[in-house]
Subunit: 179 residues, 2 copies
Amino acid sequence: MRNEVRISGFGGQGIVLAGVILGRGAALYDDKNAVQTQSYGPEARGGASKSEVVISQEEIDYPKVIKPDVLVCMSQQAFDKYCRDIKEGGTVIVDRDLVTVPEDFYNGNVKVYKIPFTEIAYKDIGLKIVANMVMLGALVRITGIVSKEAIRKAILDSVPKDTEEKNLMAFEKGYSYLK
Amino acid sequence: MRNEVRISGFGGQGIVLAGVILGRGAALYDDKNAVQTQSYGPEARGGASKSEVVISQEEIDYPKVIKPDVLVCMSQQAFDKYCRDIKEGGTVIVDRDLVTVPEDFYNGNVKVYKIPFTEIAYKDIGLKIVANMVMLGALVRITGIVSKEAIRKAILDSVPKDTEEKNLMAFEKGYSYLK
């Protein structure tokens, strides 16, 4: 089973760090294989940011995302660019307040989740910058592709020491947002 | 011109962050294309860490390193595993105090640099943890594949606010180590 995740948004939202944590959690703490990639092209110079993670039980031959099973969009630009790539039956997760999903996008059997990542980060933690951790919490809860405990450990490995508590709180808020 | 860089060592040395900064510097501030990858396999669970960056003027079709032009090793395990992959005429850079390069490795026209990254970080900055920035400084000076100014900007983008000064100092120490 190969799972392809693309996380997209704009620079400063911690898109790269979120991908690193997802890949690290899967590989180091869930005993899977993972490859995590940042591709920077001309679009990155316009402030766009993209991080991809391929997670598999088996060895990963091709490291890039072909058709994402899971697409996260934290900006309208990212949604507009990537929304047509999603796999049939895949899952799209967007920041509710930053992305407008057109009505006709619901055609097909793609599941769409609209969650106020940035608002939760700001209202519950007091820091917009942890919206990426709120997003990871929701992603784990919705998809189950990596265990909650594995991501918690990967967060502790990856964030500065004095920010651990706020990052974990944000992750938990995202995880528990969907009852 | 395609340049392939593999940075390797063990967990906790900031190998992933170094790769992210290198790719980001090349793409966002030097106007090149870059793909940066972390692959986690069974070896990662033994504490090994690897980060790869492909940098090119053109679009990058294949995102993985095939034969590195530049190989950085911050552990003996990493050197022993990857030293035979280096491209003919390539450059190997190791932490002098953590890696022993066998005498016969000098055969061929691979250039080998032995630099005390960890010692410089500890003695000059007071923090072993910035050895990765010392390494980036030396890498930029030796290879010239990314400009000094681009890496400085990418460091500022990527490290926590209150650590900017020490990270930049460590980068400069690595850059100026080779006269």
